[in-house]
């Protein structure tokens, strides 16, 4: 028996401990927003957060997540303050990022983990965090713009006029 907290809800799963977390999420828990793309951690479509860290759920045995706290795309909005969408989800709409949309759950989960660790990433940091996520529709420029849109918002929110002068 594997115990998980998935999007804040405690669940017990009676499955093969070797089953990748991806299939447990999709088939046992019925959360289909997390996608299967390659099965070998090469495309990032299956990205979820385990204890706040972006991981490829297609290669992580469900047993390795035992006792862990998992966030999927369905729970992303609730991780941000306030009602409604996560700021990245709104930025994805503003920049009209998705085309087919299949990779976007994974893209958003990777981007959210990036901004949690680095609220104002430069291009190299964005490349490093996002190069594991393939977008076959090629929307990399829009993904980059959307991440920067949110990053710049966070700078505005934390900037206190005059504060730097007192440093």
């Amino acid at each position: 028996m594997v115990r998980l907290a998935i999007n804040g809800e405690e669940r017990e799963l009676d499955v093969d401990p070797a089953m990748p977390l991806l299939w447990a999420i999709r088939e046992q828990l019925g959360l289909t927003g997390t996608k299967f793309g390659c099965g070998i951690a090469q495309c990032g479509a299956c990205t979820v957060h385990l204890n706040g860290v972006a991981i490829r759920s297609c290669v992580m045995p469900v047993s390795a997540a035992d006792g862990g706290d998992i966030t999927t795309i369905e729970g992303l909005a609730a991780t941000a303050p306030g009602p409604g969408l996560h700021p990245l989800q709104q930025a994805w709409i503003d920049e009209q990022v998705p085309q087919c949309g299949y990779c976007q759950s994974g893209q958003l989960m990777s981007a959210a983990a990036l901004l949690d660790n680095n609220p104002n990433p430069d291009d190299a940091a964005i490349d490093a965090a996002m190069a594991g996520n393939v977008c076959r529709c090629g929307m990399y420029g829009r993904i980059r713009r959307a991440i920067k849109q949110v990053a710049s918002q966070s700078v505005v929110e934390t900037y206190v006029p005059g504060e730097a002068d007192h440093g």
Partner: protein
């Protein structure tokens, strides 16, 4: 059961003529009660086949095109909203059901006639003969970049204008005024004289019983309010919160999961398999033997795929078991050589005296180009869910051809068409692959055998190894130059002609041209791949043209411009891209700039690519693209398609190669069939030129021009002429 190819489609489609889309679209709803039952709910009036109005004044477009991220749903909805004067907030899109009444034939028409030959909208409304042809074609294809330029222009706009007129007529009759004094605005009818105003919904039921005009009046571009503006895509919100339903997300009560392994060598059959190692595993329901594959059905996909791994199926030996990529390449070269000796290849185009021009030429440039097979590698691996009941079958799948899939499944299972129901889903990429029904047929056969609903998911390895590939092609060229450096002759022979027929032709005014093809069939299945034959020939012709320019001592941009006299749209597009990219700007050693021009699917595209060599590696820095699509219905949607098409073509040019060993595909997943990633993606600038000529396509025209502009830039940077893709094979270690 016929395998769908664009070739077959065109042969059939020639019969279609120009009137059908209009006829189907305008057919009044009350003349099709069976259809109304399929597409309307209580309180909704089907004004014509493609337009319904609800009691809440909500207007819905019902159109036969599927969504794979290309934005067709949104752009088509814009076209209806504008022609019908519906507020954007009041309109919705509903994908037409997979029934014969919504067969579309537009793809074929776009290919066959070219839109310029269609006599606008002035055609009879309901023409029974044409309708029968459409039904016989059994197709409902989203492909060929036709949604806007064919279905939208000849179907949706007409349907919207006709519906608007009927609503005005119904209102005029009720209010006792002439319809000409009434105004349609914001989903309401207004009578300026009396100040009366009422929503469309009040007249919809009456409008649905009236006969439409044969020639509804369309808006002029200066009156467009919604066409030509960028509206947020209707499908985007569901694609940021995980709620969009792709085929792989289908849920059916009692559903089991299937994993499949297909014969590695195309055409081989399954001889035998010992099912026991799989069937002893807990959770496994059964092993299913198909003609050319073995599948395991289990209570989870993980169990099914683990059990499949335990099987050791025996495949039939075939005559292709020893074939490899080198042998295929020799076959292609032999085909071209034999044709040269045997009286020449079949002619695509012949003009002027090529023999004489070459005999008199001061210099002759010769080169041979080659591209490999390519897989589509949609992010969503092929999958379908099926439930087989009492002589009936339901299929849940994302497809570019819902009606065609339904016919294919019915034929494969020997069911009446009426016994097969198809539930369409979003597609996680299509690019042509999801026009081919193999996975839907497999799911239906497995579900029938297993006696339970089954979701069949191909592994990525199956997806890469059992595609219908972009064909591998060799193309050989000769060009003749006179003493002044003018291009006087152009000769091109390649093997295997598919579609579109004009793909190998060039827009340049070379006096003597001879272009032709041979046939060198292989056992490797092929299918449409984003931009189809333009993807190969765009590379071949525009890269070779660059070689010719260099040999002639001419600037590649200037030489193109000089040979495009009278083709003002082409010149304008090329000039725009060159100016925006600062074509003439000097670049340092190791930096290069290349240009290309390609007309495809009704749109003209020029691209300028900047590259540089750094640490022995190639960096693609910037792409500047100019497009004349006639008219951009959604400028941001068109821009997104250009960005997407460029990355798709760039991925292929840099990395794409499917190779054959012992009759089978070597590559298997993204580690050996790599995709372009964010860290290597260039900045892409798109410039749109609305010429208001015939409206062109968007999904494909961005793809063909990137590979030639790229290799031309590589030559500019290094002097290395790349004639065979992918570029990953090229060694730049001496550079930078």
């Amino acid at each position: 059961m016929g395998k769908w190819t664009r070739r077959a489609f065109i042969t059939t489609g020639v019969l279609g003529g120009g009137a059908l889309a209009v006829g189907v679209a305008l057919r009044p709803g009350h003349r099709a009660p069976g259809v109304a039952g399929e597409v309307t709910e209580d309180g909704e009036s089907l004004i014509n086949m493609w337009v319904k109005v609800g009691a809440d004044n909500r207007v819905t477009l019902i159109a036969p095109h599927s969504e794979m991220g290309q934005g067709a749903h949104t752009a088509l909805t814009q076209m209806l909203a504008d022609e019908m004067d519906v507020r954007w907030e009041d309109i919705a899109y509903q994908e037409a059901p997979a029934i014969d009444a919504y067969a579309n034939w537009a793809l074929g028409k776009g290919f066959i006639l070219g839109d310029a030959d269609i006599p606008a909208v002035l055609v009879p409304t309901v023409n029974g003969a044409f309708l029968q042809v459409a039904k016989a074609m059994k197709l409902q294809v989203t492909g060929g970049s036709t949604s806007i330029r064919a279905t939208g222009v000849y179907g949706v706009r007409v349907a919207g204008a006709a519906a608007r007129e009927l609503i005005l007529e119904a209102a005029a009759e009720r209010w006792g005024v002439a319809s000409s004094v009434l105004v349609a605005r914001d989903t309401h009818v207004e009578d300026p004289a009396s100040g009366r105003r009422a929503p469309y919904a009040e007249f919809a039921a009456e409008a649905a019983t009236r006969a439409p005009s044969a020639t509804p009046r369309l808006k002029s571009p200066e009156d467009f309010r919604i066409m030509g503006t960028s509206r947020p895509r209707l499908d985007v919100p569901t694609k940021v919160d995980g709620s969009a339903q792709f085929g792989i997300d289908a849920q059916v009560p009692g559903m089991h999961y299937a994993a499949i392994r297909q014969a590695p060598v195309f055409g081989a059959k399954l001889v035998d398999v010992d099912a026991e190692p799989a069937e002893v595993m807990p959770g496994v329901k059964q092993v299913v033997r198909l003609n050319n594959a073995v599948a395991v059905v289990a209570d989870s996909y993980w169990t099914a795929s683990q059990a499949l791994g335990r099987l050791d199926p025996r495949w039939e030996e075939t005559e292709n078991d020893a074939v490899d990529s080198d042998a295929l390449k020799r076959r292609f070269q032999d085909s071209l050589a034999n044709a040269r000796e045997g009286g020449g290849p079949a002619q695509d185009e012949k003009s002027g005296d090529a023999d004489g021009a070459f005999a008199d030429a001061a210099a002759v440039v010769e080169a041979s180009y080659h591209v490999p097979y390519l897989a589509h590698a949609c992010m969503e691996p092929m999958n379908a869910t099926a439930r087989f009941g009492d002589h009936s079958c339901e299929v849940w799948v994302g497809t570019q051809n819902p009606l065609g899939f339904r016919h294919e499944v019915a034929a494969a299972l020997e069911l009446d068409l009426d016994a097969v129901t198809l539930h369409q889903h979003y597609m996680g990429g299509g690019f042509g692959r999801r026009a081919i029904g193999d996975v839907a047929i497999q799911a239906a056969l497995i579900a029938r055998d297993a006696g339970v609903p089954v979701k069949l998911i191909w592994s990525r390895e199956e997806d890469v190894r059992h595609d219908h590939y972009r064909p591998s092609v060799t193309s050989s060229f000769r060009a003749g130059l006179n003493a002044e450096g003018d291009v006087v002759a152009w000769e091109n022979a390649y093997h295997d002609k598919h579609e579109p027929a004009e793909a190998p032709l060039i827009p340049y005014a070379v006096p003597a041209r001879r272009i032709g093809h041979t046939n060198a069939p292989t056992h490797v299945p092929f299918g449409p791949w984003r931009s189809v034959d333009h993807s190969q020939h765009g590379f071949f012709t525009e890269a070779f043209f660059d070689e010719v320019a260099v040999a002639a001592g001419r600037d590649p941009f200037a030489l193109r411009m000089s040979l495009l006299k009278g083709r003002e749209r082409h010149q304008q597009v090329l000039r725009t891209a060159a100016e925006m990219a600062r074509w003439d700007e000097a670049r340092p050693r190791g930096y290069g700039r290349g240009i290309s021009l390609q007309e495809s699917f009704g749109s003209i595209v020029a691209q300028v690519v900047d590259v540089h060599i750094e640490d022995g590696g190639l960096s693609v820095d910037r792409v500047v693209l100019a497009i004349d699509p006639g008219f951009a219905v959604s400028p941001d949607g068109l821009t997104a398609q250009m960005e997407s098409g460029v990355i798709f073509g760039l991925t292929a040019a840099l990395y794409g190669e499917i190779s054959i060993e012992r009759g089978a595909v070597v590559q298997s997943n993204f580690h050996d069939y790599p995709m372009l990633r964010m860290d290597k993606a260039p900045n892409i600038e798109t410039h749109i030129i609305n010429s208001y000529e015939a409206w062109g396509g968007a999904g494909e025209p961005g793809t063909p021009g990137i590979a030639p502009a790229l290799v031309n830039a590589v030559f500019d940077a290094t002097g290395i002429r790349v004639r065979e893709l992918p570029l990953a094979k090229q060694d730049f270690s001496d550079w930078g």
